[in-house]
């Protein structure tokens, strides 16, 4: 599973990491902490093409719903099957077992332009 240092980050708190021909997408530890108590995750269908910034999933906590945006353009190739039975995985292990979906055909230029972990941590400091 991807180390936080290897991921790139969006201002809306998703992470993405490209390994081989496939990219893995999830939400940051900061995001899971803010969302808290995840009870339902609505994931995209495999085969769906998404553009960068497009709403691709919805994470529901007890209190509110949060849209999850595609960090880069691509095609959904798989979704995390474990989240259906255990949505709290997203809280327990956001960078590991709580990943959301995989993308193929990712626009690598878009990924490269996203924040590194250090940049994201600076962003969190200034955004709050």
């Amino acid at each position: 599973m991807p180390q936080p240092e290897k991921c790139r980050y969006t201002k809306s708190h998703e992470w993405i990491v490209v390994e081989g021909g496939e990219a893995l997408v999830g939400i940051s530890d900061h995001a899971q902490h803010e969302i808290s108590d995840v009870v339902f995750v609505d994931l995209p269908k495999a085969g769906r093409a998404v553009t960068q910034g497009e709403g691709a999933a919805v994470v529901e906590s007890v209190k509110a719903a949060f849209d999850i945006y595609a960090p880069a353009a691509g095609t959904v190739s798989a979704v995390n099957p474990a989240l259906a039975g255990d949505p709290a995985l997203l809280n327990r292990d956001p960078h590991g077992e709580g990943w959301l979906f995989k993308l193929t055909g990712v626009d690598l230029k878009q990924v490269d332009a996203l924040m590194t972990l250090a940049q994201y941590q600076d962003f969190l400091k200034t955004a709050h």
Partner: protein, 370 residues
Amino acid sequence: MNVAAGNRRTALYQLQKEAGARFVDFHGWDLPVQFSSILKEHQAVRNACGLFDVSHMGQVWVTGKDALALVQKVNTNDAARLAPGQAMYSHMLNDRGGIVDDVIVSCFSSERWFIVVNASTREGDVAWIRKNAEGLDCIVDDQSDALGMVALQGPSAKDVIDAVCPEAAALPRFGALEARLWGEDCVVTRTGYTGEDGFEVVAPNAIITRVWQTLLARGTSSFNLLPCGLGARDTLRLEAGLLLYGNDIDENTTPYEAGYGWVVKLAKASFNGKAAMEAQKKAGPGRRLTGLRLLERGVPRPGCKVFIGGAEAGTLCSATFSPTLEAGIGAYYAKAPVPAPGAKAEVEGHGRRFAAEVVALPFYRSPNRI
């Protein structure tokens, strides 16, 4: 932190902030929405106990020779049935039968009454009670600004309350007593808003932090108590079928429509809204608050549209994920004839429809309730 500038804060704000609470705006107050986790706090109240700051709520003393007459006039429930040391849940109505507020009324003598009102309606309530007091010999004293209030809720609450007020443990359900705590006049009632056994302690702001800290220390050391926020308060009260003013009821809904006809005592000589209530009881309410449970995973929210047989049937006024039932639940006003439990429905959210069914209210009855 999601707080608004210029909001009011309770006497417990600083303590709660230090305890890691996240705050949210609630009708002009900065109140904790959660301390640790809404799910954990919810389960603590169902299985052990939880402690809530509810200091935003209002407290009004009604005293004097005609105090009972005033309390009777503004309430649908029958205060004449209360002996000193007893409390009741009641609705206050306008002349059309619309709900001005839902309240808890405690009797300490025929000339001493204590009414706990909602924060969002407090000013209007006090003005309404005062207007009704015209010509009567009694004093309406709004003490909300001087008083704090905490709710200790859950099956272990009776063991924890001992740390602050030992005599309260002997109160029956809806019992009320006046106590001197740390030299100050306080009110303790065996009431709450969670569907569990529990107590509510009203104390002057000067000592409410001591009440909080003492209950917290006793409860966390021996009874798995958690401090709880508004998030758990909402999931707990909705599971228990308790109404939230502003969501489920307002000046355009009536007790019969809300499924709370039992608080309307038509045998009383007179009270505000009585004629409207008699007429509605005779004709039958044209709509009724109706429970829905999602049959697939998803979380309904207030404002989501409800469909029955494919046709739009209403809008959810309260809705959430029920931690106890592990399902989405919500309530909406169904037009008469109201669909029976088991009837199929759909709830719209995120551009899709979730399968649901009509269920009887409340969604959950605690086996621990006294």
